[in-house]
Amino acid sequence: MQIDKDVVTHLNRLLAFELTSIDQYMEHSRRYEDLGLNKLYERINHEVDDERGHADLLIRRILFLEGKPDMETRHELRLGKTVPQMIEGDLALERENAKTLREVISHCEKVKDFVTRDMLVGILKDTEEDHAYWLRKQLGLIEKLGLPLYLQSQL
């Protein structure tokens, strides 16, 4: 079923974000594990599943709209070396993702593709309230506790 040809293009832009997030979170979570920061590993490894869930929704919707999911394109990876860098890189990616989601949601509203819009609002809620909010809290804690104590709490 086709509603608006641009919607598929936009959904593919968003798909690239989810695929980039999967890559980045995979790398970061494994690096946390390697550093012995098991709590961070678990949290970010779980984030990979969330992002895969988002990608799944997007791919299914693109196929339903008779489009072709673009599995190749990625956005810029923001890999960090230190823990604060990794968290900041993740936050930057989530913020870009949220910004793009808002753009696409308003486009869907314009072309009256309400079901896609609804699906994207769910993804935006995860992005804002779960992922980005958690990352911001960690940066705040690093500031409040200092890095060594923060890291100790993530063993």
């Binding site: 804690l141 409040k144 506790l145 200092g146 104590l149 709490s153």
Partner: protein, 154 residues
Amino acid sequence: MLGNQQVLQQLNRVLTHKLTAINQYFLHARMYQNWGLQALNDRIYKASIHEMKYADDIIERILLLEGLPNLQELGKLLIGEAPAEMLALDAKLQRSDIDAIREAMAICEEQQDYVSRDMLNHILDGQEEHVDWLDTQLDLIEQMGVETYLQSKL
């Protein structure tokens, strides 16, 4: 049953303190949560709910005494900007509550309203426990430094 005017006035005064505390603790609890200090949120959220139960006891008692509980009046909230300051301000509020309750109890005794006095005594018990906990936290902060203390409250 018509209550003594002085007692009713005192009960309303304590009620104002309780209503103020409910709000102060509630906002502080959610600020802790917003910063990822979940353990502090849990503790202070519960303190807020306790205050609400005390307020309820007082409201019921005032109505029974055929008075009008004043839920309009609210004291100044002491809202801090950082965890240690917030705990210190809670202790300050709690101390002034305790003073108000003690004064109210003395008047109840004087006016021979022993049931109101007993209710206030029960509330006072809870307040002393909470202020004791707050003082312990402030001590811990002094001894281990605020960073290490907060690490234990994630």
